[in-house]
Amino acid sequence: MVSGVLDYLWLVPAFPLLGVILNGVLALIAERPFLLKEAGLPPPGGSHGHPSRGNSHATEAPGSHGSGASGPHSAPVYRNVVAFLAPGAVGASFVVALLCVLSLAARPPEGRTFVQILFPWIQSGSFLAPVGFQLDPLSSVMALVVTGVGFLIHVYSVGYMSHERAFARYFVYLNLFMFAMLMLVLANNYLLMFVGWEGVGLCSYLLIGYWYEKQSASDAGKKAFIVNRIGDFGFLLGVFLIFWTFGSVSFTDVFARIPLLRDSGVLTAGMATAITLLLFLGATGKSAQIPLYVWLPDAMEGPTPVSALIHAATMVTAGVYMVARSSALFLLSPDAMSVVAVIGAATAIFSATIGICQTDIKRVLAYSTVSQLGYMFLACGVGAFAAGIFHLMTHAFFKALLFLGSGSVIHALSGEQDMRKMGGVRRYLPVTFVTMFAATLAISGIPGLSGFFSKDEILWQSFSSPHGSPALWFVGALAAGITAFYMFRLVFLTFYGGSRMDPEVEKHVHESPWTMTVPLSILAVLSVAGGWVGIPASLGGDNRFEEWLAPVFRSVAAAGAHGAATGAHPSVSLEFGLMGISVGVALAGIGIAYFLYRLRTSKPAEIARRVPALYDLVYHKYYVDEIYEWAVVRRVVDGSVWLWQMFDALFIDGIVNGIADGVRSAGDRVRRLQAGIVGGYAFSLLAGAVLLVGYILYRSMVP
């Protein structure tokens, strides 16, 4: 029976959770003695050849973690167990997910929604949020991407992290992340989704701050968590509104009740706008959109596989997934759709321009990620949810590959991340180079590769959909050109030209072990071929991907006001024209990159000198971090200090202690009556008696 396999859906998140527990026990029991032994030792100075960690300050960080103390040769047994357990858990969950999806696919399209309720989680009055999973075409795409890419990155991590002291701790976090992410994508209600939503934020925090001894790393982790929490605040309020509007938080209930509530006037457009904008605030936090994107570039402080998994392929796309999941709600509110589209487009172009001037290889990729996420939101904003998810998937392949490739480079170059100190690495790292080049072609939108199909679908929809406009298309196309430019800039600076490497570093450059290159190769294949499931009809394909997702978004279209998700193409020739333009723009971007970084390598510096203000502005990321720091962080901290010292200590406690002091000083005065002279006391006693008897007398005379 097909549903027999689906009954084991809960195993998909359960395997990583098991991995968390087992690895956690190992981390606390087996790994702790090693760490403590090391902690007693003074940190050895200087780095000697262990390219152990990806951080931007190679000269200070690697050595300070005691990299010499534990190499793979001296690895204790537990490390092997962890190295097997952690990827194994994710692999198992991938297999289960795959089987479940296959059995789901065997069902007729309308019946492709499977809900499994495990137990009630929070129940209070009419409110019920169960722990339940929902597998439908949308979540199955996500589940496969998450477990599949996640598995590859786990394998890669075994190699990449092999020199780390806290090996088990890393995999605990990574497995925990997989668990949280799977809860997010498989949840059957908004609240459980929120569990995964915050859970991945936590793992992101933990993994960014993995090298917690480094101030910048723990700062970045904290920043990521807090900025995400700002988004979560919106998400949470959105959930409240959903519950009090729909009376449920489960996806199926909410979407099923839309027509009824809309017709009865309970669900107004204003309410829909409020709900969706709050949810979208959550999405901007998680998916690093304006104005909450600032945490993602800093998140590159984490180990590179983490950047690949969390900050490129999976977690940051959760916002897109959530918007797509809530598409029925978003379609009720044209205003919200416009906001999503505009924010997406603005983020795409804004961060793409920042990417031009970055010199840190991972930061280029980080801004690229922000930009690509903007693309996905653009797609959602114009109603092309399927296209957004499609791009989400292809992006997961090629961006994970790009990060892993850059990780491989960094690994080979002893932790060097500055592209100005690379060059000509192609010779040493052939596999890395080839795979990364494929990914670069894919992201640039070269026809035939995965990125082309998904990106082109988005651009076409942003032009042709009822929610779209030529302006959105133009911004998108421009961003595509810039993307092609900075990606090839990255490739040229890193792999081509003469070596600018530190001679000391150059001696140790080596290709990475198989645990790293095999995932690279698999991802390269996916980057190239991953788009072939969604070749549009105009190019002779049948867009099977969109068809697969259609049940999710078709019911949306039926429920929503506008059925634009899979609108018929108005004109094939127009589509071809636009496709040609976007390919042309991409090629132009590549051409400019080739010109500037291969032919006239002195030109970039010259340009920078010619427009110093502009260059400075872009180089410093438009000073957004500084503005936030000045306008928000400092205000809040100063205000809090004021509240504490002036309001709390001076004002409130002033009143409290003032009362106390008043009583005390009054007592001090009254005390003088108690002079200690007995005669005085006797006299007051007597006076009291006289007054008392006088009073009695008075009362007896005056009735």
Binding site: G679, G680, A682, F683, L686, A687, A689, V690, V693, G694, I696, L697, S700
Partner: protein
Amino acid sequence: MEALFFILFGAIAVGGAVMVVTRRHPMVSALYLILTLFAVAALFVLRHAHFLAAIQVIIYAGAVVVLFIFVIMLINVPESRLPVERATIVRVAGVIAAGLLILESAVLARRFAMPKAPVSGVGTVEAVGRALFTDYLLAFEVTSVLLLAAVIGAIALSNKKL
């Protein structure tokens, strides 16, 4: 007849009391105190409180005042070191207040209505004894505890190692 005795003993009591508070040497005061106590005992007899009159003489005059005299002789303050009385504001005011108190009480006492049929015999040994060992038994027993406490207190206080 009763009026005559009342005026006589009342005058003795008041006179003795005045002497008690005005004499410089405590020994003289103590002797006048005995006079006052006897006069009060006589007044008790006038009101048919024979038992009380008896213990007034036995306990008060016989024990308490003797105790006073004993202490006066024990510490034997030389004449020169007796406190010198001086009129301070508090003292003068105190005397005036005391006078006021007497006045007030006198006015109050005049307004005091009372059945005119004095019942004789309520202060006899039998009556007091009956009351004491029936209705007021608990109070009586508590009195003994009080006295015991006083004894212990007195002993403890006069301990040299205080």
